[in-house]
Symmetry: C2
Subunit: 121 residues, 2 copies
Amino acid sequence: MGTQVEQYELTHPGDEAVELTAVLSALAEPARLTIVHTVADYGSEGGMACLDVWEKSGLTATKSTMSHHYKVLREAGLVVMWWVGAKKHVRLRRELMDVRWPGLLDAVLADSSVPRAQQKQ
Amino acid sequence: MGTQVEQYELTHPGDEAVELTAVLSALAEPARLTIVHTVADYGSEGGMACLDVWEKSGLTATKSTMSHHYKVLREAGLVVMWWVGAKKHVRLRRELMDVRWPGLLDAVLADSSVPRAQQKQ
């Protein structure tokens, strides 16, 4: 039977509905920038588990704070998320970003001052 | 003699103090994007009067709302502002942006969906 997990629906805006101001606003937060960096660095085409993002990123935010950050990124159109069993997975909507705002995500990801080194010691 | 105008001090962060999240946050608002577009399109090396930005942009925001937007842009490090007589002037800190985050401002300015057409009829 397995564990019962509440798998709420993960909704996403269509390509046309994604707006620059929402994308910029979603990126304008250190933890969310760290998430985007981590998914860009470690995620394959098939995305990665959010639990792995948390471990790789060194972020120490709580589960509910992380869920909020993913919701903001997802609703802004920056990421696609889906369930694999009980685990949420995530990948960047890089092809959309690169078509709509060429160079934007690359410019943001090239920034080395993003606090990726909030390592758990 | 002349008219007495309150010329409050226009402070700016030093180059090193300018942060990506503040820049992204400042840009994540339609009217501020419009201001940045307008200054990029019409401002010379010597900048332009904020009154001219208002006229060229077609923005209909009140003076106090515009002042707030300029304050956010200035404190984020996106613009330099100074007084010429009773008029505030503004220019982009483009050289700083282009050194710190190459391609970022270009990617944002290339977006044609920015609501620049809020023309006063």
